[in-house]
Symmetry: C2
Subunit: 408 residues, 2 copies
């Protein structure tokens, strides 16, 4: 597919992608679609008549968030995608009004794409759960008895989910050194990342209803990169018996562009076999995993970036359909804009682990960065950048970047 | 204080109370204040000029939720309270337009009073934490090492918080009997209640900021009764290592009227001494506990009610100011309308326990109800009603009821 817009080779935002985001235009949060180094302003496009053939109310693009558009439903998403592909490959209204409708992406300020209702974090990588189990509970079996039966998850804090580029203030809190008798208060000394992806609910349910696994993906609008910053010292002291709390709730960063399930469709792949067989409500047909390359880079203040992890979303033991089906099996309702993160995505070897606590074996083996630096956990001034992309048969669909810098 | 409105003796909604709620008027959710068996329609009152002397924008009463009013700040809450007391004790505009502004409370349909952003559940009763520890971890010390240092809490599901009177569908899920090798799927057989109260955030903070314990109560608008329905069989299997999830997220019920901190002011009381001394950021001055009587009644289908628990909010080991200070000490931001529940409020003896699993000692000792019935956990058709009230020197400030019926 050739477009009259100049799309750099190897751009994450090819015409096969068309992800949605919210950018600032004249200080107003505005829905847009990324294409190459540009953004299509959806509100401006609606106003000049690019979408006259579409059957949903395009005043949803006047909103500060994508929730209203997402709530229009799957047919609306598909029709807009087809319309944009047509408009980008032929010279129609979009071409005619391009000066008004198309803006520069590289200089745009991005905002939160959705108003998040509830946020859930899963724990669905078997390598990560095993690695963390060894570190947090060294004297017992690392994988707990429920792990292979349940896509284990927990509720997280929605208010502190922030957009890529927002700096992170190092959190303070209680922790207790293994050798100490009592806890102490101070800045976290074991500040870490978690390499995750998150999906965004596209279709609400009513309290008391459950989502069948065969329809689960119909309730998913798209995905973003997710960095679940974690203060390991705070987490280690607080997490029994009710789970992580302040060790996580100070910040989680997402990438600004939501890549739709439709754009990800060509990148489905085989999954890891689940042993033992899961209960019937979690059994599925077809391929529910996705081949999405993931990379984590760390950039110390004033220095160059070192890649510290290369992982892949395909390593997930539990897939999104299973997570969402499990989440609603008790009748829990979900709403458009809710976010559900994967949990840390670790592969099999140390260079594919999704957190620094895993890579550094609990802080005991520093990782080597460029220019002679080393790290166990994050230091002030460090910037973490996560990138994600799919590539197949010359087609690239990427997520851009999810980055954040640690402030003292 | 005498009012020209007829207020029944012993009403929860005395002139000392004036709690806020949202009721349906002509099918439109409308902010109101309860007084005796009546509701003052705040939007109608604003329209006929009752609030002309107030310095905040009373168009906030056109909203479907109280968030916009709450966001006006503490001075607005206080000035409205004083105005209402004046209008109820003298014959002014409210008296003149009473036909338009005052409606019957007993026949009113109530709605969710606030749009909840995030919901947090604490675990702050030492008796409950000890009792549950014995039941869930019989082979180890019931109170975990962090419990006396941290007001332990976790994030809960906001979407499934519902208003009193909404029926509860018995949840399904995975559980594993202690004697079974593998989990099975089915309706919960150990459906329980948790007697809690929740406070509502009245003043937002910015990500990265913390609330000092001396100012913490300024961030609290008021309180409701909270029933954190719990499926103990689902919870027992899923909760390690990340905490309760589907065992809780199918429903939590709140009472419809938010009793303000100002109305609760006369009912402050001494607290339980905290041993060992807590870390400095959690140390406070003055009385931060409140004497609020709590009662739980169970009514089997077509039968009469039996009171199964009489507890009191004063039993809290950790107070609200400590909970909120701890919650934000890592920089986590809070928003107006966020809800924070106490955790189950148990007293020292079996008749003051706040959950059926505690009263029935893990389901082993059935409690006796009227007319020869017994219960360990909830059966289909059972209605649970929680009541809460303060009383002192002839002044009564109550919360009304928080009730829900179990559907199969």
């Amino acid at each position: 597919m050739n477009s009259w817009i100049d799309i750099p080779q190897n751009s994450d935002f090819s015409i096969h992608n068309l992800p949605y985001g919210i950018f600032l235009r004249d200080e107003k949060p505005t829905p847009g679609v990324a294409i190459g180094d540009y953004i299509i302003d959806l509100n401006a496009a609606a106003k000049v008549g690019v979408f006259t053939d579409l059957e949903f109310d395009t005043s949803v693009f006047e909103s500060d968030f994508l929730n209203d558009f997402i709530d229009c439903g799957k047919d609306a998403w598909t029709s807009l995608r087809h319309c944009l592909i047509k408009e980008l490959t032929a010279q129609g209204n979009l071409f005619e009004f391009k000066e008004k409708v198309i803006v520069d992406r590289l200089s745009a300020d991005m905002c939160m794409p959705v108003r998040i209702g509830d946020y859930t974090d899963f724990y669905s990588s078997i390598e990560h759960a095993t690695n963390l189990g060894k570190l947090f509970r060294p004297d017992s079996e690392p994988l707990l008895p429920n792990w292979r039966h349940i896509p284990v998850g927990y509720h997280g804090r929605a208010s502190s989910i922030i957009i890529s580029g927002t700096p992170i203030k190092r959190p303070s809190g209680q922790s207790k050194a293994p050798t100490a008798d009592t806890p102490s208060f101070g800045k976290s000394k074991r500040l870490d990342i978690e390499l995750e992806m998150a999906f965004i609910i596209g279709k609400s349910t009513t309290l008391g209803d459950s989502i069948n696994i065969n329809n689960a993906e119909d309730h998913i609008f798209g995905k973003v990169i997710f960095n679940d910053w974690s203060a390991r010292d705070i987490q280690g002291w607080e997490y029994v018996p009710l789970g992580p709390f302040l060790g996580k709730s100070f910040a989680s960063t997402i990438s600004p562009w939501i890549v739709t399930m439709e754009a990800l469709e060509p990148f489905r792949c085989e999954s890891i076999p689940q042993e033992p067989t899961v209960l019937p409500y979690l059994q599925y047909e077809g391929q529910k995993n996705f081949n999405i390359n993931l990379e984590v880079g760390i950039t110390p203040e004033g220095d160059e970036e070192t890649t510290i992890s290369e992982s892949n979303f395909k390593y997930m033991y539990w897939n999104m359909a299973q997570q969402l089906t499990h989440h609603t099996v008790n009748g829990c309702n979900v709403n458009v804009g809710d976010m559900m993160a994967s949990g840390t995505i670790s592969g099999r070897d140390q260079h594919s682990y999704g957190s620094m606590i895993e890579i550094s074996k609990g802080g005991k083996e520093p990782m080597e960065l460029k220019n002679g630096k080393t790290r166990t956990f994050l230091e002030d001034g460090d910037t973490i950048t996560i990138r994600a992309y799919c590539e197949k048969d010359g087609v690239r669909v990427g997520f851009g970047e999810c980055s954040g810098k640690i402030l003292p």
